[in-house]
């Protein structure tokens, strides 16, 4: 701390702006992705449930973000024995 600091106030606003820009760029992508995952999960569950009795929590959808490509992992656990829905069997 020198006497010169008194005459030169800290310019913290540019730091705030840069931090926000980096953070929000990241957060906007992940918020969009979580919406996408929820939608995919809901629709995948809907398709399977038309044919097979399946509890809603047995469909897991995960997204892994990479630099070049992202991967979507869908894990569906079917209860044994597989019970086909009546209308699907008919």
């Amino acid at each position: 701390m020198t006497i010169f600091n008194f005459f030169k106030p800290t310019r913290s606003a540019p730091v705030a702006r840069d931090r926000l820009q980096i953070l929000l760029q990241h957060e906007r992508v992940s918020a969009g992705a979580s919406d996408l995952i929820a939608k995919l999960r809901e629709e995948i569950l809907g398709v399977i449930a038309r044919h097979v009795d399946i509890p809603a929590d047995k469909v897991q959808v995960k997204m892994q973000r990479g630099d070049a490509v992202s991967t979507l992992e869908v894990e569906i656990e079917l209860p044994n024995p597989v019970r086909r829905r009546a209308e699907a069997a008919a």
Binding site: P9, R17, A31
Partner: protein, 271 residues
């Protein structure tokens, strides 16, 4: 045509209730019929800021649940005869607000008023979602400060996805209201500038409300700042903002206090 306006922010304490009262009153000053509606169930304050706290008999939840008629719950402002307050409940929990009930009340309000201004609670929970659900226009209240800007960004995302308008694929009109702005500190690089916030949030600017004593003075006496201290810098900024909402094209300025020579010399306080 009736317009439903939500005043929202995500973060608490940035000036949603103050802005709801000030803009609601400003719109009513031009003779339009305005209802300001408090959605902050359990923590109501719009009644207090509007100076109507001792006249609350029924509230939004009573009307939503069909225990009172809308006309019984609406409190007419003592200063402006086209301005009404619909208070939130102080005692019941937020789950008492049902989606169907709110839809019915909002439809009824649209039938009686030119503007229905909904004061959202802070956060992103049920009350905040219901406050924005029926909106045609949104005001995002933001302070030039990192946590407020971040939360506003989140709320903008929700306005674009969780409102009825968004779900119908229509464009949700959003405006930024920058509050507690200190032009001198921004100029010294100690506070985010208007342009910084606009660049980050990228929604159109409705107004810049300067940090001012007049805002606290107004809430102390229970009167919107646009009615009690009409010549103060924040009042002029809110009055301009309301006119922009009505579609007028008014040049954007950062209003400053009109101070006399002596007060400029001696009245300066430490920041």
């Amino acid at each position: 045509m009736s317009q439903v306006l939500v005043v929202t922010s995500g973060k608490g304490g940035v000036g949603k209730t103050t802005s709801t009262a000030a803009i609601g009153a400003a719109l009513a000053l031009s003779g339009q019929r305005v209802a300001v509606v408090d959605f902050d169930v359990g923590l109501r304050n719009l009644d207090l800021v509007m100076g109507a706290e001792r006249r609350v008999v029924y509230d939004l939840i009573n009307v939503v649940q069909g225990e009172a008629k809308l006309q019984q719950a609406l409190i007419r402002d003592k200063r402006l005869e086209t301005l009404y307050v619909l208070p939130a409940s102080q005692t019941r929990d937020k789950d008492a607000l049902t989606e169907e009930g709110v839809t019915r009340v909002m439809e009824e309000l649209r039938g009686h008023f030119d503007w229905v201004v909904c004061d959202s609670p802070a956060g992103i929970e049920r009350g905040a979602m219901l406050a924005m659900r029926h909106a045609d226009v949104a005001i995002v209240v933001t302070n030039p400060e990192v946590s407020s800007v971040r939360d506003s960004d989140r709320i903008i995302g929700m306005l674009d996805s969780k409102t009825l308008k968004a779900e119908k694929g229509e464009y949700m009109e959003k405006h930024l209201l920058l509050t507690r702005y200190d032009a001198a500190r921004a100029e010294r690089g100690q506070m985010l500038k208007v342009d910084d916030v606009l660049e980050i949030l990228s929604i159109p600017l409705l107004g810049i409300i300067p940090e001012s004593e007049a805002v606290l003075n107004a809430s102390n006496v229970g009167c919107p700042v646009t009615l009690v201290d009409t010549d103060s810098a924040p009042a002029r900024a809110y009055l301009d903002a309301a006119r922009r909402l009505e579609g007028e094209n008014i040049p954007m300025v950062v209003p400053s206090e009109r101070r006399g020579f002596m007060s400029k010399l001696f009245g300066r306080r430490a920041a």
